[in-house]
Amino acid sequence: MIEIENVRKSFGPLEVLKGINLTVQKGEVLTVIGGSGSGKSTLLTCINGLEPIDSGRILVDGIEVHAKTTDLNKLRRKIGIVFQQWNAFPHLTVVENVMLAQVKVLKRSKAEAEAEAVRQLKHVGLSDKLNVYPSRLSGGQQQRMAIARALAMSPDYMLFDEVTSALDPQLVGEVLDTLRMLASEGMTMICVTHEMKFAREVSDRVAFFDKGVMAEIAPPEELFGAPKDPELRKFLAATH
């Protein structure tokens, strides 16, 4: 369970998160929508402790992320994250990309790590690219590799930050299919996305962020069918 309690966060004078309260249950798929700059990415990077917070707290399985005593490197094994920008390690082949953290962080043997990497890469449909360098992959393939790399750490939670936003339109589908597959397998997920159709299909709940505030959160039928927040209505009207 991820519990976010009254989290505030500023970059200099700019308050980016203005008291966020949110709980994500095990097995839940939450999608987060909202305009650019509304604090969605910042929230995700706070959840895995990449960014500090100013006040409030975030608990992952009861462990306070920003407590001084928390071993962040250990906590992050539970939380996979895939970013909007492709970030394959360019000096490693696809299979090495997926093996690296398994060996370094989980101390798996090379053989174990490779077997797991092959399994995860097969899962996301990259079996034929194992020994290729990332520069030879399309954007969609790079994103699927990044998903496999995160999954190989056996995380309990997956955070996705607009993973299709930097892709050519014809490549968006294959990545969304991978996310759908994960959702159907019961992975606990927070997906920041601009794909409204996808959000409608896979989400248990959808949250709308507006200027650092979570303005509305509801199951998709309700949020898309009968939006209450005026900014959300505007946002939905604009994206249709």
């Binding site: 990449l50 992050r76 360019p90 000096h91 370094k104 750490m153």
Partner: protein
């Protein structure tokens, strides 16, 4: 091809000079690179404000001509501090610091060339700062920094000629000694240049070889 008074012994004398050039350069590049990596990582890690004192000192090493540094350091260590250390030690010390000042810049540039998004991805996978530095930053920064580092190493080899000022007889000084004796400057300088080339060429080629090996295609 033409008459020369150069004997085999003279050639051995030159080769010894070349050996000295190689040793002084090797020690200085090795120590300078290790120090340069420490300084460069430190500067990157603490940011420009906290690194300012170090940056200032390194800038001094980069802006004062090496010849002056050698003379002053030698005078300071032997006369002021009264240490009885050889010109060779002074030469290696000064040249190492001189190398480290340039190397620190190269290292910092190399680290900065690694996209923060990659480093965040590594940390997100639970990798520690050290694991990120070793497995991601080091290999990627090395690829970017290598050409400049090769240039630095070759430059230090040529600059090492200046250590004659602290009584170290390296290749160029050996050549001058022979020129004074044999009065065949052009021929001797040609041989001297040949020696420099033989030492430098493998280093220059090493760069090309590594770049090709790393080009991931």
């Amino acid at each position: 091809m033409f008459d020369t008074a150069l004997t085999a012994n003279d050639l051995i004398f030159l080769a010894k000079g070349a050996g000295m050039t190689l040793i002084v350069t090797g020690i200085s590049v090795l120590l300078g690179t290790i120090l340069g990596i420490l300084f460069g990582v430190f500067r990157y890690q603490v940011g420009p404000w906290w690194a300012a004192p170090l940056t200032f000192v390194l800038d001094i090493f980069r802006s004062i001509p090496l010849l002056i540094q050698l003379v002053l350091a030698n005078a300071f260590v032997t006369t002021v501090l009264g240490f009885r250390i050889s010109g060779f030690t002074v030469a290696c010390g000064v040249l190492s610091l001189y190398t480290s000042a340039y190397c620190a810049e190269i290292v910092r540039g190399g680290i900065e060339s690694v996209p923060t998004t990659l480093r965040r991805a590594a940390r997100s996978l639970g990798m520690t700062w050290g694991q990120d530095m070793r497995s991601i930053v080091l290999p990627l920064a090395t690829r970017v920094a290598l050409p400049s580092w090769i240039g630095l190493a070759l430059g230090v080899m040529k600059d090492s000629a200046l250590v004659f000022i602290v009584q170290v007889v390296e290749l160029l000084k050996s050549t001058q000694i022979l020129i004074t004796r044999l009065q065949e400057p052009l021929f001797l300088l040609m041989i001297c240049g040949l020696f420099y080339f033989v030492i430098s060429f493998p280093v220059a080629r090493l760069g090309g070889y590594l770049e090709r090996r790393w080009s991931n295609d």
